[in-house]
Symmetry: C5
Subunit: 405 residues, 5 copies
């Protein structure tokens, strides 16, 4: 083909074009004042395959289109069968060394294309599908209702700002729309939008600046499964714990019921540990949520044990008194065939504490009608009210910070 020969691609020593990085630029400005070569970059996010909260990394598949002009390589289409574009091996031309600053792993998603596309007006385009793993500082405070903003910073590795100027080809809205249109695979994340802005940095040495193009990817977690699997069950356990106040105090049930709930919360918390990193400043609210509920339940168990103990103590004292009474009466009534009263006492004691008040009132008709079990119950009810208030206040404050923010 003549075009091939015209462009000089058949020569072995075509290394010129490979080695002069800025030749196209210098060429047309062979004076002391020269302009930076402009590299146009377009970066489409085509899949978000993984977000690792523990390692704080984001794995995406991106489509990156890089374009730049090389005034050495131009031709008149009408001279060559109206060919306006031409694919040529990559290694015959200078390729801008755009690197991604945050990347900890950059792999070609598919086989690397060996070609670049030349346009007749000296414009070159290279096309890559990359599988990127970038670091991303995540704020997990509001997990799982969190939005994350991850940057992908494109920067030349050595060329200063005077020599290379990285520009976005399409504007951010277009990229957002295209990324979303493009049958985006999102998994548990929603791509909100992609923003782009330019910046400079003084990286290599302090003497010269480098141009940066920063893509800001805003993603939003889809919280549904987390809500269903963690928040709702934990909340349910809390409700059950509150309701368990109405279980008969003296039953063996209540305590084992509450301990079981406590344990299930602690299992939930271990799952959190697997998902989230340990951070200092803003503890994830879901951790606060689980831990607070865990502690509330623990306290309510302590209270239950305390009330039970109090009741048992007083029941014991009362028994002493009652039996004393009975003994007295026994002494007095012996021979009067009136044992049933004391029998009743003992039996009633067995049949739970709820009916104890009534029983004592009846038994000690002639004595001060001091109800021994009243005090623990008052403690119980007071605690319940305080507990419910605490829970409501805690949940409403938390809910406000968590979702309503």
């Amino acid at each position: 083909m003549q075009l091939f020969e015209y462009l000089g691609l058949d020569k072995e020593d075509s290394q010129n074009s490979r080695m002069w990085p800025l030749i196209f630029n210098y060429e047309h400005a062979n004076t002391t004042a020269y302009n930076p070569s402009i590299i146009y970059v377009d970066l489409y996010v085509t899949a978000i395959t993984n977000v690792n909260e523990k390692a704080q990394t984001l794995t995406t598949q991106v489509k990156m289109i890089t374009g730049w002009s090389n005034l050495n390589v131009t031709w008149k289409p009408e001279r060559f069968c109206n060919i306006t574009t031409f694919a040529a091996p990559k290694d015959m031309f200078w390729i801008p060394d755009i690197t991604i600053v945050e990347s900890i792993k950059t792999e070609f998603g598919t086989k690397e294309s060996p070609n670049v596309l030349l346009f007749s007006d000296g414009y070159m385009v290279s096309f890559e599908i990359l599988s990127l793993t970038t670091t991303c500082k995540m704020d997990l405070h509001r997990f799982p209702f969190d939005n994350q903003t991850c940057n992908i910073t494109l920067q030349s590795s050595v060329y200063p700002v005077e020599e290379i100027d990285i520009q976005a080809f399409k504007n951010a809205d277009w990229i957002t729309i295209k990324s979303k249109d493009n049958n985006l695979v999102q998994g548990e994340w929603d791509l909100l939008n992609i923003k782009e802005h330019n910046s400079t940095t003084r990286d290599l040495s302090e003497s010269h600046e480098m141009d940066q193009l920063i893509y800001q990817i805003n993603i939003k977690r889809k919280p549904n499964l987390y809500v269903i699997n963690i928040i709702v069950p934990v909340f349910f356990f809390l409700v059950l714990d509150v309701i368990s106040f109405f279980i008969d105090t003296s039953g063996a049930d209540k305590l084992s019921f509450k301990v079981t709930l406590l344990l299930s919360i602690s299992v939930m918390m271990l799952i959190l540990k697997d998902m989230l990193p340990s951070t200092n400043t803003y503890l994830p609210l879901i951790g606060v949520y689980c831990c607070a509920i865990f502690c509330l339940m623990g306290i309510s168990i302590l209270e239950t044990i305390f009330v039970n103990y109090l009741m048992a103590k007083r029941a014991q004292k009362r028994t002493v008194e009652t039996t004393a009474t009975v003994s007295e009466r026994d002494d007095g009534l012996r021979g009067q065939q009136n044992p049933p009263d004391s029998v009743r006492d003992q039996n009633e004691e067995q049949s739970g504490t709820l009916d104890r008040c009534g029983a004592t009132q009846q038994t000690q008709r002639e004595k001060t009608s001091l109800c021994w079990t009243r005090e623990p119950r008052i403690i119980d009810w007071t605690f319940l009210v305080l507990y419910v208030i605490t829970v409501i206040v805690f949940l409403s404050v938390l809910g406000k910070v968590w979702i309503g923010q």
Copy 2:
């Protein structure tokens, strides 16, 4: 060998054939009107090794056969000992740069073959075994009864539609049959069929179109193990929960029985979280199934506690009244040696609530035969009926959407 020399493969400067991508095409159409070179591709799926629902990726082993014609390389078999095919190093010829758009990892399954096969009529064939990881938008709504459709889109990275036209070599039925015949390793998926269709895209820049060949792989999950391990146990737990209404209400058993069931459901739900990504629009039905059953059980526990509380309350009131009655009678009957009645009362109270009605009827023969425990039992039964109806309606609707769709 003469053939080798005839084809000019012994020359160092045989770079011609390597560098001219479209030479064979342009050559025979050295006019302004030229036809695109046709690349025939066959893609057989030989193994489905992994489907990652969380990352939404599909890992397959595929056999890809790429054929194209290069009119520069032809010979007459009769002149060369009837040799019709000839293996030559890959790097001596232009190879089409077919990339897979969805791929996030393309690796050679085995060692890359260094050769292509030449046919005497200028047809070239390259053969590759690839280990592909592609993104695949999955709809997990009906998991584990779901079918998934994953695309593998073949596309040249730079050549526009005027220069390269990608065609399927064999038709889709053949490929499906061959893939299935080929001792396909499927693991937990059934390959339903493979479809293929052509398309064009405007990828690189808006100025020119590129040809695409899209393979659509339809796979169907084998749901058996999931049914046995998740759906059946959860269903069993629900049945046990319903049946637990018949457990004696006053026993400590009932509540701990129900809480244990609740906890096991919550464990099941955490397993779901590990398997499925959190999605927004269509929550996986299995999540709905587990969460709904979790909530139903939670509500039934609340009801149990409420009924127990009601019973205890009334039992307490009744005790007061009864003892009052007894006291009255005591007063009246004192001296008549009739204590056993009240003994019986107390004892009966211990012996559960079921026989309480009978007991009270007997005890309070002369009073209104108001059965105090009747109301809670009515609540209990009403709730049971509502509960069973809800469960049946829920399960039938869910089952319809889930499987019958």
Copy 3:
């Protein structure tokens, strides 16, 4: 060294030997009829590092020795200090492009050797240690008592059967013995034997056949740990469930005991889900085993609840009757100081159901000695017998299929 020069390895244009794939063959048969070049392959399995049942892949370390003759490279040892073998860089010779069809990952276990070994009679030997991951269709029906047969198919990527003929160097028995001798690292698998046979395939295009050498690796799982950790505990739980029939029915123990057993089985089943893929035709027997035992236990819980309910119901009815009787007698005996009978009744009721029959017999001496609790107990015993028979039949059938096959 003269040998080096004699062989022409010092010349830059020694590309001849590299590029002519079949030169040695054609050379000695420069007529229209030529024989295929024979490639001798030996493949020793030196370690089985992983068998992934979910992905259906096998990871092995293999030692592969490939030998072929190249009549261009021969020398007379007596002329060169009796040197009979000579190591030369690989890239100076044509190397057969043997690929492994099932492979999804072929890596050099150690650094790739840059050399091949030449023998003075024109025989070349190449030696590789590979870390292979191959797909392997596994039948997990009898897991963990299963044998698996994995193929490793060696095939040239482009050369047809007329040009390359792959033969095993050593016979299968030798390879099996050597593989086992070679300090084989087996982990949880036993290498039974390695078989080898030749085959042809029509892979690339339908026009020509390709030679294949198929190694069939038979491995046997060592089931001990699975038996100890899954089968024995599940069996023990079943035994405990059967034995739990002898627990006093009225105790709160029985039900919670059974539910705990049920839950532990469900935990075991979730572990299965992690290990095994979901397959359709033959569900793994271990899944059937666990699921069946789970269901049996579930049914036995339902039965327990049902029997308990029946007893409670009847006990309630009986109480009504008994108390009626007692009341009658009360009426009759009032004034006869005979209250203890009814006291005894109530107390006996408390003291469990086992002694109820005796109690009623005594209480209702003058009435029909209908034992109210007999019917539930009959149900209980009938169920137990049926249950044990079902279990025995199920286990014996399963055991026969599982191990005895």
Copy 4:
């Protein structure tokens, strides 16, 4: 460009500059005494992505800037349009072979830059983003309140100290500040500071020394999530265990309550096993913490069983005596209509042990008022006091070592 030609980069045989490693050095000191070439290195930690305690590895993303002077490559900026810096392909110059001694995996985080930056005064700068996995000897004694110090040792692989001298470009404070400023992604670690110091080693052979630059990275774990998820729950379980002494001893509750707590601690300990490696000298304090609490709870369960057993034993004896007493009295009082006493006894025995002392005092008014249940209760209380003291001493010592160190 003239500069390019001036520097001789257009010549194919520019291998000189590539091959002479020390040419710039030797050149200006072509005498017997020569100075080592100084390599300036700057290493910024930009992300800590993983710290694996089990494998004792640290994964970081680092930015490494390497600078050295090559007096062969200098130019006068004023002669070349005031160009002071120039990017040239890496493979045209000698690059120092700095290796990282601790590294077990060194990967380019992003695409490797093909260029180095030349300064007009003969200074060359190379810029790399590396994804490093280095071994790091960790002291997990105080986990999760631990600081770790990981070294990154830069060293030439072959050049001795006389030829290469590795120096830090910027001082350690600057690097620490810059690393922290640089939007450091830290996950669960806080970068405290980075120190640097020089050292020499006698690595390769004993005959010559090699220069080393050691970066010491001090990181501090953020312990919050571990505190919330492991330490707090375990502590809570301990508190509950202590409080459970106040649960009525005779109830079935107490034991199952304690066993449940014990089991949850054992679950926590298994989680530890997953996180931490098994080390000999200093067992992680968190392991000591959990194990000690596990043992304390176990002992408290043993004590509970022992006390219960003692009570039951004595209760049995007492029953014998009491009934003997009663029988005696029965004999004496028969005909005196005084049965209620014994009835009361039996009933009281049922109603727990707490009121037993009172009961016996009353029952055995005329006998020695030896309280049979007193001794177990004394044991119980003594144990409780000892237990609480042990717990407090243990926790305060542990806390001191753990945090206050």
Copy 5:
């Protein structure tokens, strides 16, 4: 530099030195008798990063120093500024192709050094940091008190014993000391020592032998965390199980207590399954330990149920008899106002089985003082003694094999 030129490294055709593998050897022995070239190797283990028991692989970081003499490359230091060592690119010289036979993955830990070090006396040294994954036949019989011996076999891939002789440079003690000194990162393993010995193998073909240098790495597991997390808890559960014999048999507690212990052992066993491979000949003792304790507990549960059943049965019979007796007496004593006895009976039955003997003795004063509950208790005690003996014998035998071996 003159040295560079002297050594002829500036010539493009310096391929001589690269291609002649044995030139230095043949050169000085250009007769029919020649000596093998000696390759000195030093291998220091610098980190043990992973030991995978399931895959039976060992991952280490090793420092490997390879030295050999090349008499072609010598110079007189006094002629070249007293330079005694010189770094030259690796690809200009022949490098011995030492491979590691057991390796399944050999990676450069850090960037591969492009240079070798030349000494003026013709000695060449190459230095590598490798990240090795090697197979290692592990004997897990005594896990976690096990020592493992892993081999790293160095061998040339093609050169026979006549041409290459691999020798250890330093002796084994030195290497052990150096490896330990070298700030060895060991994780949960202690490096005991490294041994080295030479061997030959007949690998490639049977015609010639190859030299091997085998490093034997002896490592010892640090068992502390395993002891704390698995052995101690399981032992504690066993102790609790034994102690649970002293729990009041009739209580609901005992059975649920034991089942809970059983379940926790089964959870421990599942953890074992994750850690250890299933092996045939020597089952890991820790598996035997857990399984035996699991079975012992299971049997003790069966015994408990059996004894309970027996007691219930006899209690039932006794009730019949007693009530018969009572009835008789009732008949006889009716009118004698002696009901309390039977009341006492019933009540005593409720109050546990321990005091039953005493009770019956008293009740049946005039009858044979046959204690009905004695037999179950004898069974219970006999079982306990047998159980404890079994446990002690089992543990002492196991302990002897396990640790004392």
